[in-house]
């Protein structure tokens, strides 16, 4: 019997060498944040989207740098000003064996924006789009105005089968409706405990090397690191910056790092003559100096971004000079990181009429971004050095974002000078430009997170034109121009881009993703 077993093992290993993809290997991943559901249309949230990528393909996939690539659609292109034609991949089967066709796409697009009890749905990406089935493998997306970001928007929508379209969120969590076309199939889901997926051997793309993947939410940072060290899990996401040096010295551990699409930046009150947290020296009232572009420029020059990266972030970040790191669609080649120049900042302040500076308060969250409270403290010290005496007030994100968005008695942003971050979900520059820089315009849906209420007609015009321009090269130029103008006007002050760290046991490494997703398909053997 024993002989037989070892003979089988040899045979299996020979087979495995022949086709390296076919092996029975289990991967366990410790996640920093847990999905709130396995219903891919329930909650538009990073951890949920990352999990659903395993089970549900999109029509258009986003690679590790968020560049678009064919998913369930083999091609997508505008056939006239108002219509995009998607050609679907043929011969793809759902996990239950049924064929993938245009009907599944149509019902997916109908369900995605409209899930009962959804805290935050996908309607944002499907607004103003009508989907029409042309034949079994062709669909048209129609819009009322030319719309260039069709590919980016559609790449956010997980495609479910017609069975799923009839199902409730509970059916998805129970696994009965969790039927996609993705590289992994549903195995089990115990909220708070584990999500287990198994390989889809009939996958249309490259079959994953892992036969089974278990995700375990371990939200406490030190415990996550300890679980990796103890061998409970093979890989973890969200390594705390304080543990990075220790883990680097550990021979059994392999770190993988990559810059994210998240910029950390400062918003300045640019809409109130009398800003609540800006005072003259000694506490008297003062006409809001942040309205003056020279003052904003001086603040930017007074911030030592290298020091923030080196000391506060322990080297795990990149200094930022614009809204997205290089390599993303729509970034400008002409923008450098603003150099640290305290003397220049003082001179500019004097020129603007504040030779002795003024007083203000920086507000920020203390549990949202990596080292957020420490960054706010560092910035306050740097500003105090050039004469702007800056106090620091940080608070939990659950309190912070509400107040920062509409905390004043009139329902306007409450603070004068705030630290925030923005991750470009679409993976290109229109996302931050539209939401952070464009004039706050409720009816058009622009400037929804413009908490400084910066407003510049020319920048707005550039952004709006970019959002109408279907030609990629032209749009790239327009977005870069809008970014340059916004930075020139110091609409916001970018400080750094977050770098994310994953840690795996020796022999494994992770292909870092700009969207911060942790995907089993990105875990490779060395």
């Amino acid at each position: 019997m024993r002989k037989l077993t070892s003979a089988t093992a040899v045979a299996v290993s020979i087979l495995a060498f022949g086709a390296s993809a076919v092996s029975a290997e289990k991967l366990t991943i410790g996640l920093a944040s847990e999905p709130t559901s396995l219903d891919p249309h329930f909650h538009n949230l990073g951890p949920n989207n990352a999990m659903s990528v395993h089970i549900f393909d999109r029509l258009i996939a986003q690679d590790e740098k968020q560049r678009l690539s064919p998913g369930l659609a083999v091609s997508w292109e505008p056939i006239d000003e108002l219509t995009w034609e998607f050609k679907l991949r043929e011969g793809v089967k759902f996990h239950d064996g049924s064929d993938f066709t245009a009907d599944d796409v149509v019902c997916t697009m109908a369900r995605a924006p409209d899930v009962p009890n959804s805290p935050s749905g996908y309607g944002t990406y499907l607004k103003g789009k009508e989907v029409v089935k042309i034949d079994d493998y062709t669909v048209h997306f129609k819009t009322a105005a030319p719309y260039p970001l069709m590919g980016n928007d559609i790449s956010t929508i997980p495609v479910i089968s017609e069975v799923g379209c009839e199902a409730t969120t509970e059916d998805f969590n129970a696994g009965t409706a969790t039927i996609g076309t993705g590289p992994f199939k549903f195995q089990s889901y115990t909220p708070g405990e584990s999500i287990v997926l198994v390989r889809n051997d009939d996958y249309w793309g490259d079959a994953p090397i892992w036969s089974e993947v278990e995700f375990r939410p371990i939200t406490s940072g030190p415990s996550r690191v300890a679980s990796l060290l103890a061998g409970d899990v093979d890989m973890i996401s969200g390594v705390p910056t304080t543990d990075i040096t220790t883990l680097q010295g550990n021979d059994g551990i392999q770190l993988s790092q990559g810059v994210s699409n998240r910029v950390i930046y400062l918003h300045m009150d640019q809409f109130r003559e009398d800003s609540p947290f800006v005072k003259a020296n000694g506490g008297g009232d003062i006409k809001n100096p942040l309205m003056d572009v020279r003052v904003r420029k001086a603040i930017s020059m007074a911030i030592n971004r290298d020091a923030i990266v080196e000391r506060v972030m322990e080297g795990v970040a990149l200094p930022a000079g614009q809204l997205l790191p290089e390599g993303f669609f729509g970034v400008s080649d002409n923008l450098d990181v603003v150099a640290y120049d305290p003397d220049g900042a003082k001179a500019l302040l004097a020129e603007a009429g504040y030779p002795d500076g003024f007083e203000m308060t920086i507000h920020g969250p203390n549990d949202r971004y990596i080292n957020d409270a420490k960054i706010a403290e560092a910035i306050a010290q740097m500003l105090t050095r050039v004469g702007i005496k800056t106090a620091v007030e940080t608070m939990p994100r659950s309190v912070y974002f509400g107040r920062a968005s509409k905390g004043s008695p009139e329902g306007l942003p409450e603070f004068s000078f705030i630290l925030v971050g923005w991750g470009a979900g679409s993976g290109e520059a229109s996302s931050p430009l539209k939401s952070l820089i464009h004039t706050h315009d409720k009816d058009a849906g622009f400037g929804s997170s413009n908490r400084g209420r910066h407003s510049d007609a020319e920048t707005d015009a550039l952004i709006e034109e970019a959002l109408r321009t279907v030609d990629d090269a032209k749009r790239q130029e327009l977005l870069a121009a809008a970014t340059e103008r916004a930075i020139e006007n110091v609409a916001i002050i970018p400080t750094h881009f977050q770098v994310n760290t994953w840690a795996a046991k020796k022999g494994l490494s992770y292909i870092p993703r700009t969207d911060e997703y942790t995907l089993a398909t990105g875990v490779v053997k060395e």
């Binding site: 329930f42 538009n44 509970e170 909220p191 415990s223 103890a230």
Partner: protein
């Protein structure tokens, strides 16, 4: 007895109602859950739709009235984050917390009482002094620190048990619990020990004090004179007398084991109610926080009642009827 129980139940309902007022308004004036829930890509119209859907556009007293109406029918509201009834979520996470709390209580009793008994009977032996010194550590070291140290020692260095998570679930007599599998026991050992440390120390000190006091009492001398064996004196007569404070305190502490296992559950990624609560607080999932606190209030009230009844069994001098008023 019946009158007493009924009266206590009425009092309990009043307490629960008052707590609902405090909890609901307390939780609802802090922060803004909408910005925790909506995707950053959402525009102003999406945000307003979310506010309406969660019912947060209504005035707070109307929200409270709706909550009360629902609560009277056993519906404590839907979780903002999961979209499911908060009560269902909590009940779903309750078994994990219960098995953790029972395991911790079990450890506290089987480790704490014998050690305390020994320390009380032989107060001058070096071992007793060691036990008493150790119990001071149990009181004073912070739970999260001890938890991490336990993980570092037993899971990372020695690799005896897993660091985090809950093990396989077994079933016995229709009860499903991870206590019935070896894998489950190896997972629960560290969190249970971590949660029990404070209670072990408490049990040691209470038992020791009780034994030292009882050993000098007349009834012990009388029993000795009567010729009873030391064994019988201690295990029957002394134990029965010193158990009253121990049962009271342990009963009350059981409530706190359930209610405040938050830290232990977070460190050991234990999928219980405490972890659910801390996540709900961080994300401002108000219905879950309110429902959780209401359930904990109910627990404390019930446990107090049970302790009172146990009293009367242990100590015939206590008459329940006399206490009610």
């Amino acid at each position: 007895m019946t009158v007493f129980v009924i009266r206590r139940l009425l009092q309990a309902m009043l307490v629960v109602f008052l707590m609902s007022v405090i909890v609901f308004f307390g939780v609802n004036i802090v922060g803004d859950p909408v910005y925790m829930l909506v995707s950053p890509d959402a525009d102003q119209a999406d945000i307003e739709a979310a506010i309406r859907r969660l019912g947060l556009d209504r005035p707070i007293w109307e929200q409270y009235w709706l909550f009360l109406k629902g609560a009277a029918q056993g519906d404590l509201g839907d979780s903002f984050v999961f979209g499911e009834p908060a009560l269902k979520l909590i009940l779903h996470h309750m078994p994990a917390t219960m098995e953790l709390a029972f395991s911790a209580l079990f450890l506290a009793i089987v480790i704490g009482i014998p050690l305390g008994l020994y320390a009380g009977l032989y107060p001058d032996s070096p071992l007793s002094k060691g036990v008493m010194a150790g119990s001071i550590l149990g009181f004073s070291l912070p739970t999260f620190w001890v938890g991490l140290m336990l993980i570092m020692l037993f899971a990372v260095e020695l690799r005896w048990v897993p660091a985090t998570g809950r093990g396989d679930i077994g079933s016995f007599l229709g009860i499903h619990s991870s206590l019935f599998t070896l894998d489950g026991l190896s997972h629960i050992f560290l969190p249970a020990l971590n949660l029990a440390l404070l209670k072990i120390s408490l049990a040691i000190r209470l038992t020791r004090a009780g034994v030292r006091e009882a050993m000098g009492q007349d009834y012990v001398k009388y029993a000795r004179a009567k010729g009873l064996s030391t064994r019988r004196i201690i295990l029957v007569h002394v134990m029965k007398n010193i158990m009253i404070p121990v049962v009271t305190v342990m009963g009350l502490e059981f409530g706190s084991l359930i209610g405040f296992s938050v830290v232990t559950e977070s460190i050991f990624a234990w999928p219980g109610m405490g972890k659910l609560l801390i996540d709900a607080i961080l994300q401002l999932d108000r219905p879950v926080v309110v429902a959780y606190l209401m359930i904990i209030v109910l627990f404390f009230v019930l446990i107090n009642l049970i302790v009172d009844i146990l009293y009367s069994i242990l100590d015939p001098r206590v008459r329940l009827q006399d206490q009610g008023a």
